[in-house]
């Protein structure tokens, strides 16, 4: 008799598709995962869809339209467990830069016919709309953490995604600190771990794509970055990228927005 496998659904909101692609990028684990889980709704991968409810929903992307604000409610109703994947879904993503601007002005830059554009004035995280059971960070998420999260779900335990800063991973990797060693600005001290300190390993400062760590001290880091030569505008911009709308980064960017 066939086992009853938990049903997985993957949903897309405003995003680049990169985080759901991470699932297809698990080349070594994909077929194994597909053996343990019934892929019931994953449009990027298959035409076949199974009606809900779903045991596990992975949600990529942010809410930027009224239609999507309603759709996420439906997704939540159909999902026993809901995990957001990536900076778009957990913090509004790069498209949340509109939250600091007049969205009509933005639209006018890109499009000729403003009346054709349907969009909300903001890009918001999924958790601003519905209850989220777990958030996987990163732009993009790491495949390693994704596999860990799915395995933890299958085993009924909590996923292990450490809350410390990139600096800790950087030390574990044995890197020379680019800030101390070369005076290169780095967001590592305030950024959530998960990438394995990728940027410092390539001689570049962290740009914060995993968003703020728990209890970051951004004002203190900004003071250091200022000493390394970053002016107010540069400080504003460095916090305003892929997690611009995450509280700690938003507040710090606003402090430098004259």
């Amino acid at each position: 008799m066939a086992r009853i496998r938990p049903r997985l659904a993957v949903w897309k909101f405003a995003s680049c598709d990169g985080c759901q692609l991470s699932l297809l990028d698990c080349e070594d684990e994909l077929l194994e995962i597909a053996g343990e889980i019934e892929i019931a709704h994953f449009l990027e991968a298959t035409r076949a869809t199974v009606e809900g409810p779903y045991d596990l929903s992975l949600v990529e992307g942010s809410v930027t339209t009224a239609h999507d604000a309603a759709r996420i409610q439906e997704v939540r109703k159909q999902s026993r467990f809901l995990i957001t994947i990536g900076a778009c879904a957990t913090a509004g993503g790069i498209q949340a830069l509109r939250n600091f601007a007049d969205v009509r002005e933005y639209a006018a830059i890109v499009y000729a016919r403003l009346d054709y554009i349907q969009t909300l004035a903001t890009s918001t995280a999924i958790a601003d709309h519905v209850k989220v059971d777990f958030e996987l960070r990163g732009c993009p998420i790491s495949t390693r953490q994704l596999v860990e999260t799915i395995s933890a779900f299958l085993a009924g335990r909590k996923p292990q995604t450490p809350p410390h800063s990139v600096c800790v991973e950087c030390k574990i990797a044995g890197n020379l600190c680019v800030m101390v060693g070369h005076g290169t600005p780095c967001l590592g001290p305030v950024t959530h771990a998960g990438c394995g300190a990728l940027c410092p390993s390539y001689n570049r400062g962290c740009y914060g794509c995993y968003g703020p760590m728990e209890t970051p001290n951004a004002p203190s880091l900004s003071a250091w970055l200022g000493k390394l030569g970053m002016d107010e505008d540069a400080l504003k911009r460095v916090y305003r990228t892929f997690n611009a709308n995450a509280d700690a980064f938003r507040e710090e960017s606003e402090r430098h927005d004259r």
Partner: protein, 430 residues
Amino acid sequence: MIVKTIKVDQLARVEGEGALKVVARDGVVQSAELNIFEPPRFFEAFLRDRMYSEAPDITARICGICPVAYQMSAIHAMENALGVVVDGPLRDLRRLLYCGEWIESHTLHVYMLHAPDFLGYAGAIEMARDHADIVRRGLNLKKAGNAIIALLGGREIHPINVRVGGFYRAPRRRELQPLAEELKRARDGALATVRWTSGFDFPDVARDYEFVALRGEREYPFNQGRIVSSRGLDIAAAEYDEHFEESHVEHSTALHAHIKARGAYLTGPLARYALNAASLSPIAREAARDAGLGPVCANPFRSIIVRSVEVLYACDEALRIIDDYQEPERPAVEIEPRVGTGYAATEAPRGMLYHRYRLNADGKIADARIVPPTSQNQPSIEEDLKTFANAWLDLPDDALRHRCEQTIRNHDPCISCATHFLRLDVDRGG
């Protein structure tokens, strides 16, 4: 009058969100629409006032499937504006990075998005139940492409190691060696892929496209070349805006790119192959010949074979670059900000991608324009549907719908990267 409407509300196995609608009257297709309902993300707007150096990281986020294409186009356009030429080993490393993206993205399309159509499966995971070895071959091939990007770029999606002027860190020769071993296996897998796809059953159709692609002096194009077409166009990227335009089409929900005064054109594998087949490597040329492609392939369903040939070429080219690689003295050339406008076009896996930036004296972006491949191909995709669907109207709805979906997937449209696709509400009345 018999009216038949075929709708697919949510297109599967494409990147992003789209729908299609074909309307027929008395057995003749009247209209075909590919609708994009991807919400707008305003990239061109929020690039304003950012530093030139931030563009590669930001534009990468337009698309998770082909971030390298966005990074490379932005970087080349910036270097064009700043009067910098990057040559030698750094140029080769960029070609190598692009090889990785072609292998990864094309293989994803061939095995996971497109082949299931020909073999009658809903997707690759369903296909794996009967053809596990084939799907595994595809996954291994894709992994080899990703391995290149991960090594050179730091990670597969949104690489972190590229910059205007070069790289943050250039790899050592010995770091590339394990990659060479993996790529040799991948090249065998790619050859097998060409053989496999050329055995599929293809509808016997063709169209007289105007093909548009880059053409390098002697290489199959990735980052550089003139923009040429099968009807005589031959221009520099800087002249793109003089010859191409985007417009609203009344029955459509998206901006469409056209060649001025001529209309729809096609970019992507079919176009690159038709305009550059002579500069493929011998092994790729031979495989194309054995697969029966001829000098020009005008049947879009056979694009899966051309894509496979390009994967084979990219494996071969990557091996050549690794073999010849000399470590550069510095990972990047110096950049001095200055006022200027820069243009670049590169060959994303799905087709040509055009970027234009105007820079201020302090290095900040004054204006940005990005034309992704899907926006350029969309009129041709709709014309494919209009032309081909007439012959399929007698099929049962499901089969017809599937054929129409396939017609779209032939071109691997990447809907998320459609930076200025828009949703149209015709009757909103202001």
